[in-house]
Structure formats: structure tokens, C-alpha cells
């Protein structure tokens, strides 16, 4: 126990100290900086950090929607226990057993703009059809594309003029989409398993009662089963959410920082600053922000779950 407290809490405190210190080169320097929060000020002035925060938030929203939505759908479809139930369930969860590095490498190859997915679009005749109706063929650059979809800088600029000065477009970076697909491929099975476990706790009598009351099979799900699955959704969202805020390996193996930092995230920022640029105080500051983001999600959840016992 003492070891855990030291390795977790004392080390976090030391990291906070480093983030406030003058240790910005290879030479260790524990003296505090004046002004104290200089590393944080520097970091929040960096366009790269703005991109990182945008990316990790956009990634979290997209990844959670896809994996939870798809996971719930698969769990509900499997709930009919049709032929092949066990096989399907095992296939959907399989990617969870793999390393993020393996996932990243496989999907990097699949989203290579010269081949993979784009080749599939050609093969299915989609592009021939697009050209025949006079539009350009659909060949996105995927991970090599620095573009940002649905940029809201202009519209937001009307309300907060400061947004116009941002060097970062607030929207969905195109290069981030393949990463969302890869992460969802790996973790949809987890969401599905959570829902399957949740569905098993819905008493059969309850569904039976609803049917006797004249509910259609569809209504049994929307009116009885889904509301009972709410707590499962909360747990799943929180667990996947903290994975997503910490995401590092997958992006490191798949795209790195991406074109124009389109797929950079705080996890990679910390790694680059600490181990490549040896700007230890900056890396430490970014890691503390990561910790705070995760804590906002996790602490209320732990508080509620453990107090209930």
C-alpha cells in the first residue's frame, strides 16, 4: 500500500513540482520558476497545444458515440440469441485482446490513401459512378490530409471575437477520422460486452409483463429494456472516456502527430516534450493537465460507486 501511495501520489506531486521548476533542459534543476506557472502559460500559448486539446475532445466525442452506439446495437441484435450467437460475440470482442500498436499498424496500412479503403471505393464502382455524374472521384487523403471539416471558427467568432485569432480550426480534422475508426474497431466489443452483461440483469418477468400489457417487441426494448441500461451506458462512457483522454499508443503507431498536428494529442505532446525535446517542465505541465482531464471524469464516478457499498 505504501508503495502504491508513493508510486502514484508522491510521484504526481513531484511531477507537479517539475512542471513549476526551471528544469527545461537535460540538466536537472529543481529550483522553482518565477513566475511559478510559466510552463503552463507557455504551453497554453502554443498552437500545437490548442490543436491537441481540440483533437482529444473531438476524438473523445466521436469515438464514444461510435463505439457505444455500435456496441449497444450489436448487443441488442445478439440479444435475440440467433444462430451463431457465441461466434459473433467472440469475433466482435476479439480486437480488444490486441495491442494498440498492432491495431494502429494494421489500420495505417488500410487507410493508406494509395490503396486500402480507397481501392475498395474504386473496386465497388463508386468512383466510376461519381465521375459519370460529373463530380470528382472520392479519394480522400485520410491520414495525410491536414483539412478540418465543419470548422466553426467563423460562426463562433461572432459571439467570441477572440476565436478569430486562433491559429487552429475548431472542427473535425479529416486525419482523425481513421483513428476514430481504428479505436472503435478495437473497443466496440468492450461496450458490447458491458451491454450484454447489463441485458442479462434485466429480469425476464419484466419483459413478459410488458408483452402481456400489449407492448410490441420494439416497445419492450424502447420502453423497458433501454431505460434499465442507462447505468451501463454511464459506466461504459466513463471507462472508454478515460481511455480516450489518455490515448497515446494507437496514434503513435498509426499517424504520429499527423499533418499540421491534425492527429496530435496531449499524450504524444508529453512524450515529445519530455523525451525528445527534453523540456521536462513543459512535458510535466501537459501531463498534469491530462491527469486533471481524467480526474474530472473518474473521480465523481468512483465517489458514487464506492460510497454505495
Amino acid at each position: 500500500m505504501a508503495a502504491i501511495i508513493t508510486f502514484v501520489y508522491v510521484f504526481i506531486l513531484i511531477t507537479v513540482w517539475v512542471s513549476l521548476s526551471r528544469w527545461g533542459t537535460l540538466r536537472i534543476d529543481w529550483r522553482l520558476r518565477d513566475p511559478l506557472f510559466q510552463a503552463y502559460v507557455q504551453m497554453f500559448a502554443m498552437p500545437r497545444w490548442h490543436a491537441d486539446l481540440r483533437n482529444v475532445l473531438v476524438f473523445t466525442v466521436l469515438f464514444l458515440s461510435v463505439s457505444i452506439g455500435f456496441g449497444l446495437l450489436l448487443a441488442l441484435l445478439l440479444d435475440r440469441r440467433l444462430l451463431g450467437y457465441t461466434l459473433f460475440r467472440n469475433i466482435f470482442l476479439f480486437p480488444y485482446a490486441l495491442s494498440f500498436i498492432v491495431t494502429g499498424i494494421a489500420w495505417r496500412w488500410i487507410f493508406n490513401p494509395e490503396t486500402g479503403i480507397n481501392l475498395l471505393f474504386d473496386g465497388l464502382g463508386i468512383n466510376r459512378w461519381l465521375v459519370s455524374i460529373g463530380s470528382a472521384p472520392f479519394r480522400p487523403g485520410w491520414t495525410t490530409d491536414p483539412g478540418v471539416l465543419f470548422s466553426i471558427n467563423d460562426s463562433l467568432g461572432h459571439i467570441f471575437p477572440a476565436v478569430r485569432n486562433l491559429s487552429v480550426h475548431l472542427g473535425i480534422p479529416i486525419a482523425l477520422i481513421p483513428v476514430v475508426v481504428a479505436a472503435s474497431w478495437q473497443l466496440t466489443g468492450f461496450a458490447m460486452s458491458m451491454y450484454i452483461a447489463g441485458l442479462a440483469t434485466v429480469p425476464n418477468e419484466l419483459r413478459e409483463a410488458a408483452r402481456i400489457d400489449g407492448a410490441t417487441e420494439f416497445q419492450v426494448y424502447t420502453k423497458v429494456v433501454l431505460p434499465l441500461l442507462r447505468p451501463v451506458t454511464v459506466s461504459t462512457a466513463i471507462i472508454l472516456g478515460h481511455v480516450s483522454l489518455k490515448i497515446f499508443d494507437l496514434i503513435f503507431a498509426m499517424t504520429g502527430v499527423g499533418p499540421g498536428f491534425a492527429t496530435d494529442v496531449p499524450g504524444i505532446f508529453v512524450f515529445d516534450m519530455t523525451f525528445k525535446a527534453t523540456r521536462y517542465n513543459l512535458g510535466a505541465a501537459a501531463s498534469i493537465v491530462m491527469l486533471l482531464l481524467v480526474a474530472i471524469v473518474i473521480v465523481p464516478y468512483l465517489w458514487r460507486n464506492l460510497r454505495r457499498n
Partner: protein, 284 residues
């Protein structure tokens, strides 16, 4: 009414809806298997046959493809990963069982708070402890060694191991421990003779979970072991794909090799695997 009978058995599709469900499940399964297909098929091709335009096709003729080269370049690191993962899994399971037992059966003032403090360690981003951790490992002369990495995985694996064991022991009736006590066994004997034999399934769950986690780790491996010869296989695989001229058949074969141990565990022991995964959702 008779429909309720189908719930716990796999049944044949009867209605058009059932057929639609099956089709959607089948398409989803194709999506989930697609990257596996790409990895295996690309890995089996010869370097000169990996052309961008034939990515989705089967190899023209049967050969080891990139597997020989991938094996040659990864097998020292596979050894490192085994040397690291097996002891770390065993040690963290044993320590976790003791910890979990104490939290489940030995309520003391503040034990719940202490448990919450422990469980939070499960969720922290490890980036926020890396700098002091590396300093500490340098001090005790374990930085850059496999044993250093084992210590790290044991310590940061303890929260999840303790959590799974605590939930397991909490479901074993107190009367069993009481009975052992009345027979004259101390806390330690009660644990060793009564609880441990019962805990075998929990050991399997924790063992599988930890093996998978540690095998798949990348962040600790890349930061604590800077020497490429000592690095675990996930780091070596990433280095393989990061070099300038990427031989995709070798990289994909490498990915298959790295995925194989945990994939086999999943296929053979999937039932226990799912239990470990659900335990992470912190249900007391």
C-alpha cells in the same frame, strides 16, 4: 408467451426481422475480421508482390512471405516480452490476492477511503508519473533493465488486481473464515488454507488480464528501456514499421506475431477474459 422460451438458446431465424438481424451481424463480423484478413494476407506475400493495387487479393502463391524476416527481427524482443510478462503477471497476481483479501475481509477504519485511493491509481495517465519514476529507477539502478520494468508493471498493476480479488473475496461468506478461526487458524493460515484454494478462478481471471495488459504495453516499454535490444516486442514492432523504407509484408507479419499470444489466450480462455474486463468497471 411462448416466445420467452427462445431467450437462452440459440435459435434458427424465423421472421424476416430475424434474417435482417443475421445479415447485419454478418456484415459487422466481416468488418471486424477485415483488418485481420489484411494483416495475414499481406504478411504472407513476398516483398515484390506487395503492390498497392492488389492489397485485397490473396497471395498469388503460397510462401512464408514476410514471416521469416519478421521472426528474425522480432524474436529477441519476443524473448524480452516473455521474460517480462510472466514474472510480472505472477507477482502482481499474488500481491493482488493478499491486498484484495485484506480489503474484503478485514474492515478497519478508513479502509473504504484507502481502497478508493488505491483504485484511482488504476485510471491515472502514466505520463503524469513517468519523470519521477525514471529518476527513482535510476537511483535503485534498475533503469533500462527488464527487472525495472517488471517492478513498474507489478506496482501499477496492483490496483486492478486488488480490485478483482476484493470483489471475488467479498462474495465468499465470512463464516468460512470464522470457522477456520474457531479451528485455531490465524489470519494468515485462514487465508492460505481456506481462501487461496477457493480463489483459483480469480487467479485465472487476473492472470489473463495482467498478461494481456503487460504484453500489450507500449508506453512503459519505450520510456523505461531505451536500449532497442532490451525492449519488449510492441516497441520493436513499432520500430519495424517506423523505419524509412517500410516493407509492408514484414510489418504485417510482425503484427500477426505480436498479436498471436494474446489472441490465443482470448480464443482458448475467452470466458475468463470477459470477466476480467468487466471487473474493470469498478462494480463493488
Amino acid at each position: 408467451m411462448q416466445f420467452s422460451l427462445v431467450n437462452f438458446r440459440q435459435s434458427l431465424p424465423r421472421t424476416i426481422w430475424d434474417w435482417l438481424i443475421l445479415i447485419v451481424l454478418l456484415l459487422s463480423a466481416l468488418f471486424f475480421l477485415m483488418p485481420i484478413y489484411v494483416m495475414v494476407v499481406t504478411g504472407l506475400k513476398q516483398a515484390q508482390n506487395v503492390s498497392l493495387s492488389t492489397m485485397w487479393q490473396l497471395p498469388a502463391h503460397l510462401s512464408g512471405g514476410g514471416f521469416y524476416e519478421a521472426w528474425r527481427r522480432l524474436y529477441p524482443n519476443l524473448g524480452n516480452s516473455l521474460q517480462l510478462t510472466i514474472p510480472a503477471t505472477i507477482i502482481s497476481s499474488i500481491l493482488g490476492s493478499i491486498n484484495g483479501y485484506i480489503f474484503a475481509k478485514w474492515k478497519f477504519r478508513g479502509s473504504n477511503t484507502l481502497f478508493a485511493v488505491l483504485v484511482f491509481g488504476l485510471f491515472i495517465p502514466y505520463q503524469s508519473i513517468l519523470i519521477p519514476l525514471i529518476q527513482f529507477l535510476e537511483q535503485i539502478k534498475l533503469y533500462g533493465t527488464i527487472w525495472g520494468l517488471i517492478v513498474v508493471h507489478v506496482v501499477y498493476g496492483l490496483p486492478i488486481c486488488s480490485l478483482i480479488f476484493r470483489n471475488f473475496f467479498a462474495n465468499i461468506p465470512d463464516e468460512l473464515v470464522e470457522a477456520a478461526r474457531i479451528d485455531g487458524a490465524g489470519v494468515v493460515r485462514a487465508f492460505l488454507l481456506v481462501m487461496l484454494p477457493l480463489a483459483l478462478p480469480a487467479f485465472v481471471v487476473v492472470g489473463i488480464f495482467q498478461f494481456t495488459n503487460i504484453w500489450n504495453d507500449f508506453l512503459f516499454g519505450v520510456t523505461i528501456l531505451p536500449n532497442p535490444n532490451a525492449q519488449p516486442v510492441t516497441v520493436a514492432l513499432n520500430n519495424l514499421s517506423g523505419s524509412f523504407s517500410v516493407d509492408w509484408n514484414v510489418v504485417m507479419a510482425g503484427a500477426v506475431i505480436v498479436a498471436l499470444p494474446t489472441a490465443l489466450i482470448y480464443i482458448l480462455l475467452g470466458r475468463f477474459f470477459v470477466r476480467g474486463l468487466l471487473a474493470g468497471s469498478v462494480k463493488g
